[in-house]
């Protein structure tokens, strides 16, 4: 099953130069602009960014689950050596769910309310050619693995709490043993205790099945705790990419650096939070050059003129798309920021 597209690393998915645009009443909006990332077997990649940054669009484009007004305008998504973006719809259907599955955002409401939860699992298996008897057995096993009692299989979604529904959806997503699971804000609507249990379940299952996992989240804490690597998006573009520890210790993009310091924590010293002035841009008229320049304390003329290319930092695949990548410290940012006020 493992897909080797490179000589040494078992790369499962390789996304290159992905761009997606939406047709909206105000015109064409480039929601994702030239995004590239990779996912290995056993790796958990965090797609991080604020609402509207394109993180969900980028992930959904890969499995071609964009809304009707969305269109991939460039790029490739190589899975098992084949480009998912070029594949015939018939062919793609075999990949979706069986090889790549999704836990959608607000998924708590995506179970069919008038069908028993167990039947929803069984019918998903039967659709992929598994006989009923075996399907029922596998559904029961999967239920237990995600921490639900098998007796719950005959229950309806409304009899489940939010956390239980989220677990049922995780079971549904893992049922066919996919190579990749995409989780879109898997914990957002959940209370902190339940959120923590769901995250633990996801981590545990990933270790067991060794899939590649993509977690889309705005919550830096969740990413820090679950993802070995992360991709930071801003205004449709990938601004930083690399190992999570590396990025937390040495952010190469001012946006990442400030975002990390704007996040409150219950641990550690009580430091003042950093504020990023302004708001993310309207993507129907994005700023020229670096899209972060209107909010960036380090911005100079060239940031307004020229889009910074992705620069390699350190070892491995850590890159940051900033003219000053690797040449600034948090102190510099804070001093410049204080000067701007």
């Amino acid at each position: 099953m493992s897909a080797k597209t490179g000589p040494d690393r078992p790369v499962l998915l390789k996304v290159e130069d992905l761009s997606v645009s939406y047709r909206l009443s105000e015109g064409q909006v480039e929601a994702v602009d030239g995004v590239s990332f990779e996912l290995d077997r056993g790796e958990t990649l965090g797609l991080v960014g604020e609402s509207g940054c394109g993180k969900t669009t980028a992930a959904m484009a890969v499995i071609r689950l964009l809304p009707d007004n969305g269109r991939v305008t460039s790029g490739r998504a190589l899975f098992d050596g084949t480009d998912l973006l070029q594949m015939a719809a018939q062919e793609l259907r075999k990949y979706r769910w069986a090889r790549i599955s999704v836990i959608f955002q607000g998924a708590m409401n995506s179970l069919n309310p008038v069908q028993r939860v167990g039947d929803q699992l069984v019918s998903a298996l039967m659709l992929h050619g598994i006989p009923r008897k075996e399907a029922e057995q596998r559904a029961a096993e999967m239920f237990q693995r995600v921490g639900l009692e098998a007796s719950r299989l005959t229950g309806y979604p409304h009899e489940f709490s939010g956390g239980m529904r989220q677990r049922a959806l995780i079971a549904l997503a893992l049922l066919l043993g996919p190579d990749i699971v995409i989780c879109d804000e898997p914990t957002t609507a959940l209370d902190v205790v339940v959120q923590d249990q769901v995250v633990e379940t996801l981590k545990h299952l990933q270790q067991r099945y060794n899939q590649g996992m993509i977690i889309i989240s705005h919550d830096i804490s969740v990413i820090a705790e679950t993802c070995g690597s992360m991709a930071v998006m801003y205004a449709g573009q990938l601004v930083e990419y690399g190992g999570t520890v590396e990025i937390f210790e040495n952010p190469g993009h001012p946006y990442t650096a400030m975002l990390l310091r704007s996040f409150p924590s219950i641990k550690g010293e009580l430091r003042e939070l950093l504020t990023i002035a302004g708001a993310p841009p309207d993507l129907s008229k994005p700023p020229g050059g670096c899209r972060f320049h209107p909010r960036c304390p380090l911005a100079e003329q060239r940031c307004r003129d020229k889009r910074p290319p992705a620069r390699s930092l350190g070892s491995g695949r850590h890159t940051a798309s900033c003219h000053f990548a690797g040449q600034f410290t948090l102190d510099d940012i804070q001093k410049k920021e204080a000067g701007r006020r």
């Binding site: 830096i220 820090a224 504020t275 993310p280």
Partner: protein
């Protein structure tokens, strides 16, 4: 803080709502109506100039507590005292005067601003209602409140739909602050905002509190946000306060088993941090269930028979630390 005296005090505060049931069900069932015990006996003191964070999961009753403390709901039992007076026992005129001093900021800045009002009019409206100043004066006061809230000058004549979430929340804050309130209830004011915008609103609220000596009840599901906003934290579970304490000591050494669970479940924005989890079974029960003893009994690892029998009172177990648990 204590030297400043208590500004807001809730004692034995309860708010129960009737549970809507079908006609047949209410006809057939003996024993009368059922109630949702959203707030079920709260004692809380907030000192002048202090910010207290009220934390809990959804369904814990924290928002209802906020509505009662902001004088928008009448308590079922118990009372709220503001500057020593019970607002619901006041004459209409005095109550109106008190309402000026008590304001609320809601979670969703998309729902709380009237879409047909320009920003400046939204902020000016409460001044008109309370007949403060002349028209020109009100205009000036509204403009100043917006400036203090950090809304760019060129946006004051815009409509809410032209503003971002963070800008809208600044307008909502300006509207609450324009009356120069003494006590502000803020119900999840930053939870709908984007991460990069959130810190700005948080520091704005801290700054306004310091400049104007405002007292806050800051309602949030997020302990980390409370740590930055509030000197003291109160933890709610199933309609009751189970623990209060100074932010750092409560987070570092939580006493109540529920607080320990809550603190242990908060993810930390540090990939190298490891944390010990407190194990728990089940989820928060419905507040329409009638529970004899401690609300956390069914999930508590340390529970003993007495916990099922009587509600543990909130008592001081260490200086400034109140805990409602038979086991602590």
């Amino acid at each position: 803080m204590t030297s400043n005296g208590v500004l807001v005090e809730a004692s034995g505060l309860k708010k129960h709502y009737p549970l809507r049931t079908g006609f047949l069900a209410s006809f057939l069932r003996s024993g009368g109506r059922r109630w949702v015990r959203a707030v079920d006996g709260i004692d809380l003191q907030i000192h002048r100039g202090e910010a207290v964070g009220l934390v809990g999961e959804s369904g814990s009753g924290k928002s209802t507590t906020g509505l009662v403390m902001a004088l928008l709901e009448k308590p079922t039992a118990g009372e709220v005292r503001i500057a020593g007076r019970n607002p619901f026992a006041l004459q209409a005129r005095d109550l109106r005067e008190m309402r000026k001093k008590v304001q609320i900021i809601f979670q969703d800045p998309y729902l709380t601003l009237d879409p047909r009002f320009r920003v400046i009019d939204t902020v000016r409206e409460p001044l008109g209602i309370h007949r403060i100043g002349t028209r020109d004066r009100r205009q000036q006061m509204a403009a100043r409140a917006l400036e203090e809230a950090g809304l760019p000058k060129n946006l004051v004549d815009r409509y809410p739909h032209e503003l971002s979430g963070g800008q809208r929340q600044r307008v909502a804050i300006a509207r609450a602050m324009v009356l120069e309130p003494e006590f502000v209830v803020a119900d999840e004011p930053v939870s709908m905002l984007d991460v990069s915008v959130r810190a700005g609103i948080m520091s704005l609220m801290v700054r306004l509190k310091e400049q104007h000596q405002v007292t806050y009840l800051f309602i949030s599901h997020d302990l980390a946000v409370c740590r930055y906003m509030c000197e003291r934290i109160a933890v709610m579970y199933l309609g009751r306060i189970v623990e209060t304490g100074d932010r750092e000591s409560l987070l570092q050494e939580p006493f109540h088993p529920y607080t320990r669970l809550l603190v242990s479940a908060v993810p930390v924005p540090d990939p190298k941090a490891s944390r010990k989890r407190v194990q728990v079974s089940g989820e928060i029960p419905s507040s329409s269930e009638i529970i004899q003893g401690c609300g956390f009994y069914s999930r508590c690892q340390e529970a003993s028979p007495e916990c099922a029998e009587s509600v543990p009172p909130l008592r001081e177990v260490a200086p400034g630390r109140l805990v409602a648990c038979h086991k602590v």
